[in-house]
């Protein structure tokens, strides 16, 4: 073992010139305010030009995969929250769907549509953060402070449904923990009424803004071929012109019932990534509208469906409602068994992926039939595409490197697991 490890010491190699001070070594991060989380890049710069950059990652590694090997299935949901914390509901749903796939559960349509609403809302929240932060890094603070109010409104909807805002732990295996309250629908409708106007305004501030365009066009480009080879997924891949979207390629949660477009870019620079995310927000708005319509249609045709918020077959994995736990013996027993992790999942190997805010969030689960996974691996899109960062910024300007980082939407939690 020690033999393998001898070459691991001091692996950050800087070029010879840096010692002779021909160029400057710049330590960008780990806590630089413009680096959006705990990232470090040791850059070799010549004036303003980046010659070489070595990213160091792992500052907030929390060993989720190891922890998951000792936790009952429902205790892993909070771990997934903390991967991409800008769109944690998508991660939660992806994890529930992985277990549902393992169990072979089929969910009622209403539940799947409710999930779609939650996932698309969090996609909007995720993209709002990313796009407004690109604007901040180019020097425009106004759009950021303006649209963040609407991210707040999304969080209020989440709060109404699951009780928390950022790290949501939303949903359960088989559906949701409780039905959506009328207040959550009111908030949702209110958001859907006001948000498009705000997004339109956000667009008119930036999309054709000469200063913004000059700043973003041509910064940090990557070709489609390279992006695919680097394992890019999500908006960053679509910005290069590849229309791969997990929602369309391998539909989950009834995405096949929806009619939406996949916005794509052409050259994969910062501006393309911005525009793809912007387009996706519009598509998300349209998907949510369709989902609300579909839910209303179901409720009109089958009034008893109004109370359906989880699949009945999931009873052994779905924590019973609190009223039942206090009044019914059976529910109390199941509550105890589930909380204590006395429920065994079937043995099997399953890979499931969802389209997260940053791309394909995958869950590779190996169950040996016990109370917790034998092995759980998260495919974290950030981790995979961040390795292309040096190639994207080398040769460009330092300020382009900053906006490239923000436009890639690298989330430290997802990067470091």
């Amino acid at each position: 073992m020690s033999e393998q490890l001898t070459h691991t010491q001091h692996h950050i190699k800087l070029s010879e010139e840096s010692l002779q001070k021909q160029t400057t070594t710049l330590n960008l991060g780990p806590t630089h305010p413009a680096t959006h989380g705990v990232f470090q890049n040791i850059m070799e710069i010549d004036g303003e030009r980046v010659l070489e950059t070595v990213p160091t990652i792992g500052y907030i590694h929390r060993a989720f995969e190891k922890i998951a090997e000792r936790r009952p299935y429902y205790q892993i949901t909070p771990l997934t929250d903390r991967l991409n914390y800008c769109s944690s509901p998508i991660n939660n749903m992806g994890w529930h769907m992985t277990i549902e796939k393992l169990l072979g559960l089929k969910l009622p349509k209403r539940v799947e549509y409710l999930r779609v609403i939650i996932m698309e809302l969090s996609r909007i929240a995720d993209h709002l953060v990313c796009n407004s932060v690109i604007a901040v890094d180019t020097g425009a603070l106004t759009p950021f402070t303006y649209v963040f109010q609407y991210r707040e409104k999304i969080y209020e909807i989440f709060e109404e449904i699951c009780g928390s805002r950022l790290t949501t732990n939303i949903g359960r295996v088989g559906g949701f923990e409780r039905n959506f309250t009328p207040a959550s629908f009111t908030k949702l409708h209110d958001f859907m009424k006001t948000f498009p106007k705000v997004l339109k305004e956000f667009e008119s501030l930036l999309n054709r803004n000469r200063v913004f365009m000059d700043r973003c066009i041509g910064a940090g480009p990557i070709s489609a071929e390279k992006a695919l080879n680097y394992g890019f997924t999500g908006p960053n891949l679509r910005a290069t012109g590849v229309d791969y979207d997990v929602r369309v390629a391998m539909p989950y949660s009834s995405y096949e019932d929806f009619d939406f477009k996949i916005p794509v870019g052409t050259v994969g620079d910062v501006y393309d990534r911005f525009m793809v995310r912007n387009g996706e927000m519009w598509e998300s708005v349209s998907i949510i509208h369709q989902a609300i319509e579909k839910i209303e249609k179901i409720e009109k045709e089958f009034p008893d469906q109004k109370e359906v918020f989880y699949a009945k077959e999931a009873d052994h994995f779905h924590i019973p409602a609190k009223e039942d736990v206090y009044t019914k013996m059976e529910a109390l027993i199941w509550h105890f068994k589930i909380i204590m992790g006395e429920i065994d999942a079937p043995a099997g190997e399953v890979y499931h992926s969802v389209e997260g805010g940053n791309g394909e969030v995958g869950y590779y689960l190996i169950s040996d039939g016990g109370r917790s996974p034998y092995r759980l691996h998260f495919r974290r899109p950030c981790f995979i595409y961040y390795q292309a960062y040096p190639e994207m910024v080398e040769g460009g300007l330092l300020s382009d490197a900053i906006i490239t980082l923000s436009s890639l939407n690298v989330i430290a939690g997802e990067l470091d697991a």
């Binding site: 792992g58 190891k66 000792r70 190997e349 961040y386």
Partner: protein, 165 residues
């Protein structure tokens, strides 16, 4: 493009060396001998019909009870044109966990292999920079191996046989 066609093409090329064919939840899975991992992936990449040119995931699993093949390296590959995935597994002994690197074929494999090395100690032969990535450089063990308990084994307050800890 169905799983049968993929299986047929691979068997035509490699014969009986690919084993343990499975189709759990519709995902074609097979095992290749450790020294053939790169050959198999190169064939899957180059073949005009198969075109598995996207690496979705790369990780490892530790099975301490499988003597002589304790570490399993798992590749998930994706054919984006026909939208098919497959899973390739390679088993190596924990004493000599040598596997050829896929980083020349897929740039994406570079960090994923470093991560796998970091947590499982799989030695990717030919990797350009096989050093730890998420853990500290000074670490002298591979934490995702099963022999490392998650909780501090010296702690007595967490012993609770009732609940499987």
């Amino acid at each position: 493009m169905t799983n049968e066609i993929i299986k047929q093409r691979l068997t035509d090329k490699f014969g009986d060396s690919l084993t343990e064919w499975e189709e759990q939840y519709g995902l074609l899975t097979f095992r290749a001998p450790a020294e053939m991992n790169l050959k198999a992936m190169q064939f899957l990449f180059d073949d005009e019909e198969l075109r598995f040119r996207f690496m979705t995931d790369l990780t490892a699993v530790h099975y301490p009870n499988r003597k002589g093949e304790e570490l399993c390296v798992v590749y998930h590959l994706h054919n984006l044109n026909d939208n098919v995935r497959l899973r390739l597994k390679v088993y190596v002994p924990v004493e000599k966990p040598d596997v050829y690197t896929a980083s020349q074929l897929f740039s994406a494999a570079n960090w994923m292999e470093r991560e796998t090395y970091d947590f499982f100690g799989v030695n990717f032969v030919g990797h350009p920079n096989l050093v730890r990535i998420l853990n500290v450089d000074e670490m002298d063990y591979f934490p995702m191996r099963k022999e490392y308990e998650m909780e501090d084994p010296t702690r007595r307050d967490k012993d609770d046989e009732m609940f499987g800890r």
